[in-house]
Amino acid sequence: MKEKEIRDKLLNAYNTQIPDMYDEILLKCHKKKGKEVMMEEKKKFNWGLPFAVAFSLLILLSGGLFYNYNLNMKVESIIDIDVNPSIELEVNKKDKIVDYKALNNDAKEILNDMDLKNVDIDTALNAIIGSMVTKGYLDDLSNSILISVDNDDQVKAEEMRQKLVNKIDKILNTDKFEGSVLSQTVSNNKNELTESEALAQKYDISKGKAELILKVLKQNSLLKEEDLVKLNINEINVLLENKNNTTTKVEKQGTASTKAYIGESKAKSIALDHAGVTKTLKMEVEFDADDGMLIYDVEFETSTYEYDYEIDAISGKIIKYDKEKNDDVISNNNSNTNNNSNNSSSNSNNNSSSNANSNNTNFISSSKAKEIALNHAGASSVKNLEIELDKEDKEYSVEFIYNNKEYEYEINAVTGKIIEYDIDNID
């Protein structure tokens, strides 16, 4: 491996760990600079300006100011962004942020020292989502985000929803992981509290998340709202997928990440091992929620008993189990569920690197390679000489220090031709 390769490999390794934080940085810079400018302007304010001019200007401008107020300050849409941090953005006609708030402590951490007022919605989204990725709320293990748009005008709400989904899709789907974006438009009723507003107030969550929970509950009446409110959006997304739902009015891109969970086959084997059962008549596994965490609900039957297990989806710990006599044994159903077929024991890539043995190749000797490099450099005696043969690439790498310069040569190990060289001043 040559030094250049080491540099490239290290830079690649570092780059995979750095999310794009540029917009977030720029926002923070603008915020600080904004403060400074205001302070300077205060110092320079000239009280000597004639009052009459100011007064007449005020009269002239008031009409325009009112118009500007309408354009700049009037809230056109309310957008909820939920991951686990929940953020509410109030956006004006020009798609600029009029106001924003953190709806939970995680969101406070995200918004920390951002100043989003009067910032374009695209830039704000970049900064918010960038920060969520940096702080580990959105990653390979938990990749879902919910966007809810509230606008009196349904057409505008739908346009905004589309626009935001496209934007977020672009931000999230990088080479690091693929995101899953849930989105919806939510309605409001000026005269009374809607069901989702009531739920949001009851549990102190965003209206968007409340609306999503109501949709999940409609689809599965066995779930409980108090369990769902504690879940993050990825966990709710997993439940939505699990129940194979097609009726809810939630638009969706991508799939929820289940990488943090042990997987159905592992959950099955944990339950079967615990029960000491090898053959089952029926077996069902599905995700469920219990006290704010995702579990696998594993149910199976033998000819004598019915079993019901709840297994923590992350740790694989058995939370609850139940065993009852099987009263309705169906003797004609002998199709045993084969649990071993799904054993997805991840095969680590054991590519026992079978180096293509190129022993037959006639390489020049290392002293010949040295001679070629030294001749080229016009050097006779050198310091720190290192010669390496890369059999796969059929290349010699010759490095040495001569005359206060560092030389690095790559030489074709068969022909002796210099492929590349680099000379660096030491001081």
Partner: protein, 175 residues
């Protein structure tokens, strides 16, 4: 494998001067060019990804704030490196305790050559050896400059650099 051009003093100097003249695009170019370098050095000091990412933000915010104080007579890369080091050291002091390496960084589930190399760099080399490698290979500092930065002498730096590179090469692919 993605290949990278060596960062050079002239390019960084031109970008800083353009930014000083209010060309905001050059600030973005600086960020794209230097954020992995700032991260690499910050990580070698702070050992934690989140802390190193925070340091990237603080370094670029400081560049933004202090650009008016930058002058052509300064060495551009050195100016940015000094900011990076000062901010990382101040974060380290705040932590007060010695820091262990973030497991996420060195976990071996990802067996790509790049990740193994990074793991070897961070676990098998001393902090000084890591810094010498990062400063020469990534930041492009000359040995003499590194000797000044690390308060050492040229021949020590030279031999340590070659010894460290040799170690990395020997460990290639070994987890």
């Amino acid at each position: 494998m993605v290949k990278h051009n060596k960062v050079d003093e002239n390019t960084v100097e031109k970008l800083l001067l353009r930014f000083k003249n209010n060309d905001i695009d050059s600030f973005h170019e600086l960020y794209l060019l230097l954020n992995p370098l700032v991260y690499a050095y910050s990580l070698s000091i702070l050992k934690h990804r989140e802390d190193a990412l925070d340091n990237i933000q603080d370094v670029f915010i400081t560049i933004y704030e202090k650009i008016d104080t930058y002058e052509e007579k300064y060495k551009a890369l050195n100016w940015i490196f000094t900011i990076t080091r000062n901010m990382a050291m101040s974060k380290l002091r705040k932590k007060k305790i010695t820091v262990d390496i973030d497991n996420e960084i060195i976990s071996t589930t990802d067996k790509s050559e790049e990740k193994i190399l990074l793991k070897n760099l961070m676990t098998k080399l001393t902090e000084e050896e890591q810094n010498i490698i990062l400063l020469h290979l990534l930041w492009g500092f000359k040995y003499k400059e590194i000797a000044e930065i690390l308060n050492s002498n040229l021949s020590t730096i030279l031999s340590k650099y070659h010894r460290s590179i040799k170690k990395l090469k020997e460990m290639e692919g070994v987890i």
